[in-house]
């Protein structure tokens, strides 16, 4: 009975005569829904209520949602795609939504855009928060004003906000790491990932320095944590209400991976990428690891016979389909070490993040890449160079999913708009099958999956819809569509998006026709029951 009152309007009961006083009392004794409310609602009681005579499922769908989505951090296996299972749609804000001088870029456009999204029934927006912008000049000096302004704009419109903490740079949009970090990097190049030719990747710190005091005596992990904590305290008023989720940046492009394929390919066929284990610290760790296994020779360098960035797997021996050394004991040694490094990097970052954001009412997420090229080969080279030891017979994603589960983090998988048909045959690619594999691992370990698209395309919507709602094995609770900008609102694109958004089970589109406003808008603001704010807050 208590449960039933959540989101049930008082007026329903008013018409029921004697129930009215009862409902009013109960309404106020229900805890805020984003807090611990879910803990006294076990699934059984929900079910019972739904079947009860009062038809308490009349509570609008949006009310029941948080109950479900909040449930995955408590390790409840997300196995119940019941009637209330519904995908929440988010839209990414422009990467440069906050300018270099901490003002909101295109504020007018963003405001209009937010309103349009709200009307469309979109749940919220995602905002990339750049380390290089917030902690730009000095370590520990944070400038949040721009993002606070964004959060306020989002709150005003009544949308939710999912924050992606970006500890990487973005060349295309001229976002780099903080200046003071780059300055340190000038003298100490080994804080960056480095490839075999010695070229450093300066848009992200190497995972090998996570626990080394390379940043003026502090370790990157400590710096990341300071950043997260500053964010938590600065945005305390929004956490759990407007801000519902945080994605922890885990590497290049924010994804848990090595920057193995950051060089653009010359043609449509992506190469296999390169191993990124050549900075001094990585080499040290490899050496130690090899020594600990009594095989010091294996620790002298990475595989000498691996292809370079844009080559095909067969162009050199390491990834050769049939005779490649990836199948050799050395190959196994190297690939598992390389992948485990990434795994433990992800583990320490995610556990730090879920630590920081525990009891704040936000869910924590991490993103993994969808390295779909060469999926149909036995050696699956691209996944391996990126750090996922996935070959014929090996499934790296199991371990990664388990790690996410242990840290109570949701997993974000990009590329949900990609279909096999569109991939060039020569790339031996299968985004669909890879997605299935990762999702299966997540399902097994009870990790909530959120989706993302690879970019703005006109013909990706069908695939996204299929991926997020089509299959009952797909457990996708949230989909973030990337990303707002001129193209997003262009006459070529926006109508398709509108259709897509309405097609998803969103409040506006999904409401029974009975539920829509029946007449012109109300002239009286005050006539909104006071509890409406509380319910949506």
């Amino acid at each position: 009975m208590e449960v039933s009152v959540i989101g049930t309007s008082q007026a329903t009961f008013c018409s029921g005569g004697e129930l009215a006083p009862c409902s009013r009392e109960l309404r106020f004794c229900v805890p805020k829904r984003n807090g611990d409310a879910l803990y006294f609602l076990d699934r059984n009681s929900r079910r019972r209520c739904r079947n009860s005579r009062l038809q308490l499922t009349l509570t609008a769908a949006a009310q029941s949602e948080p109950v479900r989505s909040d449930s995955f951090p408590v390790q409840e296996p997300a196995t119940t795609p019941d009637s209330i299972n519904k995908v929440k749609l988010f839209v990414g804000l422009p990467l440069d939504v906050v300018s270099d001088c901490h003002s909101v870029n295109h504020a007018r456009a963003i405001t209009a855009g937010l309103k349009a999204l709200k009307l469309l029934g979109v749940e919220g927006v995602e905002v990339p928060v750049w380390w290089g912008l917030v902690e730009k000049e000095e370590m520990g000096e944070y400038e949040w004003s721009g993002y606070l302004a964004v959060a306020e704009m989002v709150q005003t419109v009544g949308l939710k906000l999912h924050v992606s903490l970006c500890f990487h740079g973005e060349r295309q949009h001229k976002v780099s790491l903080p200046r003071w970090v780059l300055k340190i990097g000038e003298s100490n190049h080994s804080i960056f990932y480095t490839d075999r030719s010695g070229e450093a990747y300066e848009d992200c710190l190497s995972l090998a320095v996570d626990d080394l005091p390379v940043l003026d005596g502090r370790t990157p992990l400590q710096v990341y944590k300071g950043f997260c904590e500053s964010f938590r305290s600065t945005f305390a008023q929004f956490l759990g209400s407007t801000i519902t989720g945080v994605t922890m940046g885990l590497g290049p492009d924010g994804e848990l991976q090595y920057p193995s394929h950051h060089q653009p390919s010359n043609n449509n066929i992506p190469g296999v990428g390169e191993f990124q284990c050549y900075d001094e610290n990585m080499k040290d760790q490899l050496k130690q690891h090899a020594a600990s296994l009594d095989n010091p020779l294996w620790g002298l360098a990475g595989p000498h016979d691996a292809p370079t960035y844009n080559q095909t797997p067969d162009s050199s021996p390491f990834f050769n389909e049939l005779s490649g050394s990836w199948q050799s004991p050395y190959g196994d040694f190297f690939l598992s070490w390389y992948s485990n490094q990434l795994l433990s990097h992800g583990d320490s970052l995610l556990s730090m993040a879920s630590d920081v954001f525990t009891n704040t009412g936000v869910t924590t997420h991490g993103r993994v890449p969808l390295m779909h090229s060469w999926f149909k080969t036995r050696s699956r080279a691209l996944e391996n160079t990126a750090g996922f030891y996935s070959t014929d017979g090996k499934d790296a994603y199991e371990a990664f999913a388990e790690m996410f589960a242990q840290n109570s983090c949701g997993m974000i998988i990009p590329g949900m708009d990609l279909s096999d048909d569109e991939q060039p045959d020569q790339s031996m690619s299968s985004p669909e099958m890879l997605l299935k594999q990762i999702q299966a691992a997540c399902k097994k370990h009870g990790v909530g999956v959120s989706g993302m698209n690879s970019g703005l395309r006109l013909n990706g919507f069908d695939r996204i819809s299929k991926n997020v709602v089509g299959d009952e094995n797909n457990v996708v609770d949230l989909f973030t569509y990337q990303r707002m900008g001129a193209e997003f609102f262009s006459p070529e694109h926006f109508p398709s998006f509108t259709q897509f958004a309405r097609g998803l089970n969103q409040p506006f589109a999904g409401l029974d026709s009975d539920d829509l406003p029946t007449e012109e808008t109300l002239p009286v603001e005050a006539s909104v029951p006071s509890n409406a704010e509380m319910q949506t807050a």
Binding site: T12, G113, A116, L522
Partner: protein, 893 residues
Amino acid sequence: MSSVTVEPLLRYHRRTEVSGLRKVANSCYSSSSLNCSRQKLFHRGKCKLRLRRRPAAPVVIRASSSSSSNTALAETFESSGDVFFRHSFPVTRTETVEGKIFVRIDQENGKGNWHLTVGCSLPGKWILHWGVSYVNDIGSEWDQPPKHMRPSGSVPVKNYAIETPLKKASGDDSFYEVKIDIDPKSAIAAINFVLKDQETGAWYQHKGRDFKVPLVDYLLEDGTVFGANSFRPFFSNILLKPETQDHTQEPNNVKKEDRKVEGIYEEQPIAKHTAIENSVTVSVRRCPETSKNLLYLETDLPEVVVHWGVCRDAAKNWEIPPGPHPPETVIFKEKALRTLLQAKEDGRGCSGLFTLDEGLAGFLFVLKLNDNTWLKCKGNDFYVPLSSSSSLLAQFTQEHSKDSPVSVKALDQNQGSDTAFTNEIIKEIRNLVSGISSDNSRKVKTKEAQESILQEIEKLAAEAYSIFRSSIPTFKEEVVYEEELEKSPPKKSSGTGSGYEIVLQGFNWESHKSGRWYMELKEKAEDIASLGFTVVWLPPPTESVSPEGYMPKDLYNLNSRYGNIYELKELVGKLHESGLKVLGDAVLNHRCAQYQNQNGIWNIFGGRLNWDDRAVVADDPHFQGRGNKSSGDNFHAAPNIDHSQDFVRKDIKEWMCWLREEIGYDGWRLDFVRGFWGGYVKDYMDATSPYFAVGEYWDSLSYTYGEMDHNQDAHRQRIIDWINATTGSAGAFDVTTKGVLHEALERCEYWRLADEKGKPPGVVGWWPSRAVTFVENHDTGSTQGHWRFPGGKEMQGYAYILTHPGTPAVFFDHIYSSNYRSEIAALIAFRNRHKIHCRSVVEISKAARDVYAAIIDKKIAVKIGPGHFEPPNGPRKWSPALEGRDYKIWESS
């Protein structure tokens, strides 16, 4: 049923007939309300059930009997001390009456006397405010019509118009019209007018502009008609919306000779808004028997729905009171009740009675006249305190002690503020989402609601798209940016000078003719400085195919028709001595070749920069360049330089640095920067770090049907885009402002000088520190005259640019070969005295048809245009400082 429920209605019973009573009875019957009188009813033994079940005849009897038995009650409602609240709210609503304005030209009985008839089908005190334009008039100002044209009763207004009242048309009482005789032999080209309603003071125009009836194409000189057909399109375009016109030709069979002539007739729909005063009276009385409050609401408005709720405290949060509710009440979205008031028996308005529980603090309502019209109380909900002792009552009395009329708020979706509307929808959706929608009983129209939401989404998306696409900092950001700059004391920032610069263009299109311009200008250096200029822009110095210098050949050869390199250095030295900065005119877009390639095309360069055809853009077929495609527009008279080539950029940077050092130029005027990407300009500016730089980005403003659009955002956006591409390292000539000034001054349309946001409409309104405002230059004016400023109005232009932010640039001719010298000098001195700078803040006070006025930096006021303006004397005292033809400037003391 209850006697008290019907009581207020029954007050009218005695004056009405059975039908009216039946209505009352019916409404009682339909009501299920249980209220205080129930008790009483039982007490008296009246038969409630009979009343309910039999609506017909017995009801009449019952009703009248209850009426008599309750007369006392009815009176107590009014008179007894139980009535603790009574208030009459005045309500004003706007009624719209639609009619038409027509314009007719016809000939009276074929006598050759032509008439223009202007009429209106709506009642009112109509005045035709009109003037004429003569055939050879260039400007858009009106002239007073000749005396013989003026109908009796005409009154001259100022010196350019007269006003003639419309009279009831003979024959048809419902029309008002005025007839004007037209003499086809006169030189009158057109009759211009607007219609004015003296009662309301409203003006009726055509699409926001004057009506214009052109005559010259219509009537031939011999007074015959040229033919309506050839004339009509012209007329239609100018006068009326094609889709609304309902033109009937009225052929006149004219006996004169055998020629058949036709008149013309056009109509335009108009709507007149009349304010109608009504009132709403609310009385509240306490029913001692039941401890409930009875609220009686009556109004003289016709059919009206009360949208109401109650509140429990001063926060005035709406709630739905527990039932029973009055008859004809529906629940609206679980948030309010809607009660249709019953028509009063005398037919004058309607009323309703509401029974309310004890313990409620107030009764809140608004009145809904129709779907788009709501009546509110001073913009808020009507509020009636329900407790006689509460402080709320006192508060109410206080709030309403000075009663102002209640205003009408028409929530028309198109007219209402978009934002407010959107917020409303968002709120609606939010409410739906938050679970208020559980009432299954509401199965009503939804399609329209969905449609309107989708339309709103589209509108918002389009807005977002246009802003994103233009990818520029928004105006708001600009303000922040400017303010940041403001904080640091004005300093030499790259490309913008001190912020207090005033530029003189130091040449015109003829300056090359003497062959010794540098020397001639040198003699004026002191004079220029004494006038208050700070920067002088010199002509392009290089060897050139054309004598004016804009077709450069060998960039390092500085011997030109203006003088040789030594004279140039001497001039620059002298200008510097006089405290002036010097701008070199750098032509970077194109360069004339010295040699032909193997195909005989001139695209191989000579001199020190002996580039070959790789330095020429590839997309101009005339010059067979082997470079990349142009990053801008092509200038077709010479090979366009491919700035994407590293060697080209390197050479240009070297050359410009050499000019800086060797000649001593302090900055640049950059020719035809439309031709290549602004990013390269940034490159050059970074390399040469000029004190001041300005680019010429000149393209056409937007026009619709030959008339300039009010909104020139796209035009200034392109200029802003260019400045942005240079990352602000160079400013740009504010071509937009010049264009808008042209229209405003020439056509007497001074309203154009404020954009939709109330800011200056040119680049200066968006990025003042990078806008170089000007009235004329060697291309637009001088002996070329490609786009000459409206003749005789230049001083208004200078009054504008020299009082406004931006960096003003004055054309040489206006100082040295016109009568404006002293006036401009006074303006410059005034600008300098008041320290108006490129980031000064403009506050537009007035932008009307015939006058524009603004206050700058809160210390000076300026008006331009013939109309009247006086700066308001408030805390600041304004005293006139400068005055000229159609402009006036004040300073605050």
